[in-house]
């Protein structure tokens, strides 16, 4: 059963590669009517399906950066250029992600802004690596994305390691927790985040009194929570999504477990508040990135963006910064050749909308921010914004 999709996509890949080879490797140089060199930049996000609103948001963020660059006119290596955004829909699906990634490679894009989901960004990153094309994701947070050691993978969003560190420290230092219980749902996301929280709690001088596991399909946590109750934690951290987090917070209340509930971005959703009901009042959760009003360039960005595309969903500013990073790297390299651009991206330092943009050796954004929220009056309210890691030194 498991075999078929893989074989199908392999066959498809094979067919596509044969097609490319038979088409020949002619590098076409397109020019606009007024003699500008056409430079294609890919943008991938789910443009259909339940996450379409987020996908469109990312796409528009990248589009705005490209349009602005075209308006002011960019010269790369003495040649005037005109940027074209090639948008693709990966449906938030890992398999579709690899197919559209290959499509972009075939369309000879010089760089890709995307994808939106970690689950899509990771499989696609291998294709961009093989093609030697830089990829900057505005929203993938899974540690694995940059941990693969791919020199082509970058992101403008903080990763789950940074988020976990902030959460663990926050639990001990700000919530005053000495004893922390940690539960995760055994998914790549939940487990990854929980492991980082555990490390950070220990590093900050807290004690992890229980480490329990559930699944991403469970709804009954009374047995786990009863065991945890006996260990009298001050904070219970859950690494997982809202369908589990919400009943868990509820069951903590009915068991009389008096610890605070702490979660990551998987529970920092409006859905969570609906599902948890009155138990939501006990909850603190983090989300990577900054609320738009706390971003250095947030206000003017929101005005410009809203006028053009309507209200910002979430990640548009990160996509905007990602596209600008790509353009700046090309200017700095004096070339649109991906290999030369790739060499310049790690050297980038500039003031983006979301803050100082720069990348570390792995491709993670330097000094990204994590925002902590608490539920108040049926809404998430910002408690604190934490800058994670060292802020990059201002450069060029």
């Amino acid at each position: 059963m498991n075999f078929h999709p893989r074989i199908r996509s392999l066959t498809l890949l094979f067919a596509v590669s044969v097609l490319i080879i038979s088409c020949g490797k002619k590098q076409e140089v397109e020019k606009t009517a007024d003699g500008k060199l056409v430079v294609k930049i890919g943008s991938v996000a789910p443009l259909t399906g339940p996450q379409a609103h987020l996908g469109k948001d990312n796409d528009n963020g990248a589009r705005m950066a490209i349009d602005e660059a075209n308006e002011r006119g960019v010269t790369i290596g003495g040649q005037k250029v005109h940027f074209v955004l090639v948008s693709e829909d990966d449906q938030a699906d890992p398999r579709t992600a690899t197919i559209v990634a290959q499509k972009l490679v075939d369309a000879q894009v010089k760089g890709v802004v995307g994808h939106l989901n970690s689950g899509a960004s990771i499989p696609a990153s291998k294709i961009y690596l093989d093609a030697g094309i830089p990829q900057i994701s505005p929203s993938a947070t899974a540690i694995k994305y940059t941990d693969q050691g791919f020199k082509t993978a970058f992101r403008t969003m903080t990763n789950d390691r940074q988020q976990g560190m902030v959460l663990g420290e926050f639990a001990v230092k700000k919530m005053g927790a000495k004893r922390v219980a940690i539960i995760d749902d055994r998914t790549a996301y939940g487990q990854g985040l929980a492991d980082e929280v555990e490390k950070a709690v220990k590093a900050s001088g807290g004690e992890v009194v229980a480490r329990e596991y559930t699944t991403d399909k469970a709804t009954d946590f009374s047995a786990i929570l009863t065991g945890i109750k006996g260990k009298t934690p001050d904070v219970v951290f859950f690494g997982g999504m809202d369908p589990q987090g919400a009943p868990m917070a509820k069951q903590m209340m009915s068991l009389g477990l008096k610890a605070k509930f702490l979660g990551g971005d998987g529970v920092q959703t409006t859905e969570f508040i609906k599902l948890a009901g009155s138990a939501a009042g006990n909850v603190t959760a983090s989300s990577p990135g900054l609320p738009i009003d706390s971003m250095p360039g947030g206000k003017s960005f929101r005005e410009k963006f809203t006028a053009k595309y309507g209200p910002i969903q979430t990640y548009a500013p990160y996509a905007y910064d990602a596209a600008n990073a790509m353009i700046r790297a090309m200017v700095q390299a004096g070339s649109t050749e991906p290999a030369k651009v790739l060499a310049e991206i790690p050297k980038l330092r500039f003031a983006g909308v979301t803050g100082e943009i720069g990348f570390d050796a792995k491709g993670d954004v330097l000094g990204g921010a994590i925002t902590l929220y608490r539920v108040k009056g049926g809404k998430w309210e910002v408690v604190e914004v934490v800058q994670s890691g060292a802020a990059p030194t201002a450069g060029k």
Binding site: T215, A218, S222, A223, T226, P243, L255
Partner: protein, 307 residues
């Protein structure tokens, strides 16, 4: 000790829900020797319909008790129609067919129902409106909420009612007669088709109640929730002795307690090698043990060949 007591409380609450659903499996099996794998989905429909009714009526300002009664009544009605409909459409035409055919049909019905629910209510988790405030009582270091007490009491009442129905009424006698021999029962003036349809409806009504309990207890419902619930309840029915009404109740309660204690202590017992995410494994471990060593179940008098 208070942790142990709390785990028993957790287990009894969980077990009462399993027991209610298990009754539906066991009644149908008792009469038709058919494992109605769509029963878990009927439970899911119970939860979904009650949520839909609550969302519809809560803003209307009607008295709360009336709304709850309408939600419960509506869910039971829909499930009873569903149960009888499944029997009529999917099982009755196959009554003379080999047993495996009916079993596969049951799985097919279950998949159809899941997808219908997904089309109606979507793929998202649906939240159960908080109708009653949760009040917590503590005794001997263990906590129990008013909702949990209501679940256990209501389940016991339903079970007692069912026992009275099966052993003290004319309909119950007809059901027992049909279970022994549909042909002979029809010679005595019983319409087996009607009795079988009624059995499905009673099982479905109990499933609807169980579904509402699950929804209100956990605060959410999902189109896929019936699958695991159904499997657990089926295990409970086998544990108690499938076809045996008392056995389903005993099996449900025992399974709930085993799961609760298992999930609560497995981490400590295996030194952290296996964690509480193996909670579901206990139910199926119990199922395998029963099928290997005592296929007729704890209270079953029936011969193993029928299991």
């Amino acid at each position: 000790m208070d942790i142990f007591l709390q785990q028993i409380v957790n287990g009894v609450v969980l077990g009462s829900i399993y027991a209610l659903i298990a009754l539906g499996y066991t009644m149908v099996y008792g009469i038709l020797e058919l494992i109605n794998f769509a029963h878990g989905e009927v439970t899911m429909f119970g939860a979904m319909v009650s949520i839909a009714v609550l969302h519809l009526l809560l803003p209307s300002g009607l008295p709360l008790l009336l709304i709850v009664a309408l939600a419960v009544g509506g869910a039971m009605l829909v499930c009873m129609v569903l149960g009888a409909g499944i029997e009529r459409v999917a099982y009755r035409p196959l009554r003379q067919a080999p047993r495996l055919t009916a079993l596969i049909t049951a799985i097919g019905v279950s998949i159809v129902l899941q997808n219908v629910a997904m089309l109606i209510w979507g793929k998202q988790y649906v939240s159960f409106p908080p109708v009653f405030d949760v009040t917590r009582y503590e005794f001997a270091g263990a906590a129990i909420t008013n909702i949990q007490i209501a679940i256990v009491v209501l389940a016991l009442v339903c079970m007692a009612g069912l026992l009275v129905l099966v052993y003290r009424t004319k309909l119950g006698r007809a059901m027992r007669a049909t279970a022994q021999s549909p042909e002979l029962a029809s010679l005595m003036g019983i319409n087996p088709d009607r009795v079988i349809a009624t059995t499905f409806m009673i099982g479905a009504a109990l499933a609807a109640i169980a579904g509402i309990m699950v929804g209100s207890y956990y605060g959410l419902a999902h189109y896929y929730m019936g699958f695991m619930l159904g499997l657990k309840a089926f295990t409970a029915a086998v544990l108690g002795g499938i076809g045996n009404i008392g056995g389903a109740m005993l099996g449900g309660l025992l399974l709930g307690i085993v799961e609760s204690l298992g999930a609560g202590y497995i981490g400590d017992l295996t030194g952290g090698f296996l964690g509480s995410n193996y909670q579901d494994v206990f139910a199926f471990f119990v199922l395998i043990l029963m099928l290997v060593f005592r296929p007729s179940g704890l209270l079953g008098e029936r011969v193993g060949e029928r299991a």
